[in-house]
C-alpha cells in the first residue's frame, strides 16, 4: 500500500523518471502503431521487434556499454536489414509474405538468443540487464535513457502530427496518393522507419517478445470507440499511456517483475473492457439498443391494440380486453401501459384505459404503417394475402417517416389495405 501511495504521488524522482519515460514510449508506440495497424502491417511490427534483438546485442558488444544510443543504432540497423531481407525473399522466391515473416522473425530472434548466451558467458560486467530487453523492465530506465528516448518519442509524435494528412491519404489509398503526385515510396519508407524506431524505443518498456502488442493493441482497441482518425490516435495514445503507468508501477513495486507482460495485461484489459462498453460497437450498448427496441415494439403494439379494439366498437377498454385481443405477458402490459400513461399517450380512469389525442395519432401511425406495408407487399412484391401479416407486424416498428413518405407516394395514397380495412391518416 505504501508502494502505491509513493508511486502515484510521483514525489520520488526515480518514479517520475520511470513514469514519464514509460508514458512517452507508450504514447509514441501507440500513435505510430495506429498507422501500422491501418496499413495492415501488424505482423511486420512483430517481425521488426524480434529482429531488433540481435542488433541490440551487437550494439552492446561493439560499444562495450549499455549506452542507449549505441543499442538503438544496433536495433535500427537490424530492424531495417530484416525488412529488406523480407522484401527480397518475397520478391525473389515463390515464398509468400507470411512465410517470409515467420522465417525472418525466428532466424533473427534465434541469432539474438545465441548472441546473448555468448555475451553472458564472456561474463562482461555491464551485461547484466541485457536480457531485460526480452520482456522489458521499465524500472531500469535512467535519467539519461529518459532524455534519449523522450526526445526520440517526441520527435516521432511530432512527425506523425506534421505528416498527418499525407499518412492518412497513403494509408487509405496509396495509388490515389501517387496519382496526385505524392512521392509514395518516400512516405512508405518514412512510415516504415518510424515503425522500426518506435519499436526500438518501445522494447525498453515491454521487451521484444511482446512489443507488437504495444504497437497494435491500442489502435485496435481505440477503433472500437471511434470512426475518426484523429480520435483514433488520441484514444490509442491514452490507452497506451494508462497501460504504461500501471506497467511501470508493477515494475516498480515488484523488484524482479518484468514490465512487458503486465503492460500487455493492462492493454488487454482495456481491449476487453472496450469490447463490452464501447459505444455502438460494444456488447453493452448493443444490449441496450435491443432493450430500447423491445420497449418500442411493446408500446406500439399496445397502441395498435387500442386502435383495433376501438375499430371494432369497444368503448370501455381494460387490461382484460387488451389481453383477449392480443397476447402480452400481463406484467409487461402493465409496465407498458404505465409508461404510455407517463408519456401522455394513454389516460386511465379506474380500471378503464383510453387513448389521449396524441395517443390516437401515434396508434393511427402504427396501424397505417402496418397496412401500407401489407399493401406494398401484395402490390409490388407479389406476396399472397395470407403471408403478409407477419412481415408487416415487424416492419411497422422499423419504417421511418422518410420511408413512409416514399411508400405513400409509390402506392398513391391508398385508402384500403389488402384485407379491405381502412388505412387511417
Amino acid at each position: 500500500m505504501n508502494n502505491l501511495l509513493e508511486f502515484f504521488s510521483f514525489t520520488n524522482p526515480t518514479v517520475r523518471t520511470v513514469v514519464l519515460g514509460t508514458v512517452l514510449i507508450a504514447v509514441c508506440s501507440s500513435i505510430v502503431g495506429t498507422y501500422t495497424y491501418l496499413r495492415k502491417r501488424s505482423l511486420v511490427g512483430d517481425v521488426v521487434a524480434h529482429a531488433i534483438f540481435p542488433g541490440i546485442c551487437l550494439g552492446f558488444v561493439l560499444s562495450g556499454s549499455k549506452n542507449p544510443i549505441f543499442l538503438m543504432l544496433g536495433a535500427i540497423a537490424a530492424g531495417w536489414i530484416a525488412l529488406v531481407l523480407m522484401d527480397a525473399i518475397v520478391a525473389k522466391t515463390k515464398l509468400k509474405t507470411d512465410t517470409a515473416q515467420a522465417f525472418i522473425l525466428t532466424f533473427f530472434f534465434g541469432l539474438g538468443t545465441v548472441f546473448l548466451a555468448y555475451i553472458q558467458k564472456s561474463g562482461s560486467a555491464a551485461q547484466t540487464g541485457l536480457h531485460d530487453f526480452l520482456l522489458g523492465k521499465a524500472a531500469n530506465i535512467t535519467q539519461f535513457d529518459l532524455a534519449v528516448f523522450g526526445v526520440i518519442s517526441l520527435l516521432l509524435i511530432l512527425l506523425v502530427l506534421t505528416y498527418y494528412k499525407v499518412f492518412k491519404l497513403i494509408s487509405f489509398n496509396e495509388d490515389y496518393a501517387a496519382s496526385l503526385g505524392y512521392n509514395v515510396k518516400f512516405y512508405r519508407f518514412l512510415l516504415t522507419t518510424m515503425t522500426v524506431v518506435a519499436v526500438a524505443v518501445g522494447i525498453q518498456a515491454v521487451g521484444v517478445v511482446l512489443m507488437s502488442a504495444l504497437l497494435i493493441t491500442p489502435a485496435a482497441t481505440a477503433r472500437l470507440w471511434t470512426h475518426k482518425l484523429q480520435h483514433l490516435m488520441l484514444i490509442a495514445g491514452i490507452f497506451g499511456a494508462l497501460s504504461g503507468i500501471f506497467g511501470a508501477y508493477v515494475s516498480y513495486a515488484a523488484v524482479n517483475m518484468p514490465t512487458g507482460p503486465w503492460f500487455v495485461v493492462f492493454l488487454t484489459f482495456f481491449a476487453l473492457l472496450s469490447i463490452f462498453i464501447a459505444p455502438k460497437n460494444g456488447i453493452l450498448s448493443k444490449l441496450k439498443q435491443k432493450r430500447i427496441n423491445a420497449n418500442k415494439i411493446n408500446r406500439e403494439n399496445v397502441l395498435k391494440t387500442f386502435y383495433n379494439l376501438m375499430e371494432h366498437g369497444a368503448e370501455q377498454i381494460n387490461t382484460q380486453l387488451i389481453l383477449e385481443k392480443r397476447s402480452f405477458v400481463p406484467r409487461v402490459l402493465e409496465a407498458t401501459l404505465h409508461k404510455l400513461k407517463h408519456q401522455g399517450l394513454v389516460q386511465r380512469k379506474g380500471n378503464i384505459y383510453s387513448l389521449t389525442e396524441e395517443g390516437m395519432v401515434e396508434a393511427k401511425r402504427v396501424v397505417r404503417l402496418h397496412r401500407l406495408w401489407e399493401l406494398y407487399l401484395t402490390k409490388r412484391m407479389n406476396y399472397k394475402e395470407d403471408h403478409i401479416h407477419g412481415l408487416a407486424e415487424s416492419m411497422e416498428h422499423i419504417i421511418t417517416p422518410e420511408i413512409e413518405k416514399d411508400l405513400l407516394k409509390e402506392l398513391d395514397y391508398p385508402t384500403q389495405d389488402p384485407h379491405q380495412s381502412k388505412i387511417p391518416y
Binding site: L38, K40, T162, Y163, K165, V166, K168, L169, S171, F172, N173, D175, Y176, A178, S179, L180, G181, Y182, N183, R223, T226, H227, K228, L229, L232
Partner: protein, 261 residues
C-alpha cells in the same frame, strides 16, 4: 485537340509484356471506353497512364505534356475494391482528399476548398451521407464517393477503373448522367469497362484492347464484328454471344455484304 497520346508503349510484369508496343490518341471532350477481355491489360494501361507503373518503353502524354506537368488537370478513380472501406474516415474526409496538394503539406483547407468539396458531394447526391462513416455505405455509394473525390480535384480529364461494377441500374444511370454533363462542360472521361452490352450506349469513342490496340476510334467504327473477334478471338462461345448482341442492337456493320454471307 488530343487529350491523351500513348506512343510505342510497352508494359511488362516480370518481363512478360502485358501491353505490347501500343500507340493511340484520344480526343478531348468525349466519354471514352477502354474495353477488352479479362487480363487484356486495361487496368495496367490506366495505371501506366497515371504513372503508377513504369513502362518498359515508350511514353504517355496528357494534353501533349508529361503527366507531372499536368497533374492538377488529371483525376484518377481507382477500382472500388482496391481500398479497405473499413478505414476510419467519413465521406467528407475522403472527398477532401481531392483537394490535397503535394506541395502544400501543411495548408489547411480554405473556404473555397470546402465549397468545392460540398459541391462535389452534392453532384453525386451524397449530401445526406456526408458525415457517414465510409464502411457504412453501399457499394454504389462508395463508388460515388470516389467519383466525388475526383470531381473535387477540378480536373479536365478523368480516368476511371470499372466505375459501374457493383452498382445498381439507378445509380449507373445517375453516374452516366453526371459523366454526360461533365463531357458537355468539355471534360474528357476515360473509363475502363467490361460490359459489352452497354458499350454502344455509353461511349462516344472506344479503345479496343488486347495486349495490343485492336482498334481505336468513334464507337460505331470500332464495334465491328471483325474487331470484336480479333479482340475476343478464340473464345467462340463469347464471340457468338457478342454477335447476337450486335444483331440485337443493330450495330452499324461496316461490310455491306454481311447479310448475304
Amino acid at each position: 485537340m488530343i487529350s491523351l497520346e500513348a506512343h510505342n508503349l510497352t508494359v511488362a510484369y516480370d518481363k512478360v509484356p502485358v501491353l505490347w508496343d501500343i500507340d493511340f490518341e484520344l480526343p478531348t471532350g468525349k466519354i471514352i471506353g477502354i474495353i477488352g477481355p479479362n487480363g487484356s491489360g486495361k487496368t495496367t494501361l490506366l495505371k501506366t497512364i497515371m504513372g503508377l507503373i513504369k513502362p518498359a518503353s515508350g511514353y504517355v502524354k496528357v494534353f501533349e505534356q508529361d503527366l507531372d506537368e499536368v497533374r492538377q488537370r488529371v483525376a484518377y478513380v481507382p477500382q472500388r475494391e482496391s481500398v479497405d472501406w473499413d478505414f476510419p474516415a467519413s465521406v467528407q474526409d475522403v472527398v477532401e482528399m481531392g483537394r490535397y496538394r503535394k506541395n502544400s503539406l501543411f495548408r489547411r483547407l480554405t473556404q473555397t476548398d470546402k465549397e468545392i468539396v460540398a459541391n462535389a458531394i452534392e453532384k453525386v447526391k451524397l449530401t445526406a451521407f456526408k458525415d457517414r462513416q465510409i464502411s457504412q455505405l453501399s457499394g454504389g455509394q462508395q463508388q460515388r464517393v470516389f467519383i466525388a473525390r475526383a470531381l473535387a480535384q477540378g480536373a479536365d480529364i478523368f480516368f476511371m477503373d470499372e466505375p459501374f461494377v457493383g452498382v445498381d441500374a439507378t445509380t449507373e444511370t445517375a453516374i452516366l448522367d453526371l459523366l454526360t454533363t461533365m463531357r458537355d462542360e468539355g471534360k474528357t472521361v476515360v473509363i475502363v469497362h467490361h460490359d459489352l452490352q452497354t458499350v454502344s450506349g455509353y461511349f462516344d469513342h472506344l479503345v479496343l484492347l488486347n495486349t495490343r490496340v485492336i482498334a481505336c476510334g468513334p464507337t460505331a467504327e470500332v464495334l465491328t464484328q471483325e474487331n470484336l473477334s480479333n479482340a475476343y478471338g478464340g473464345q467462340l462461345t463469347l464471340l457468338s454471344k457478342i454477335q447476337s448482341i450486335i444483331k440485337e442492337k443493330e450495330f452499324p456493320i461496316r461490310e455491306k455484304g454481311f447479310e448475304k454471307r
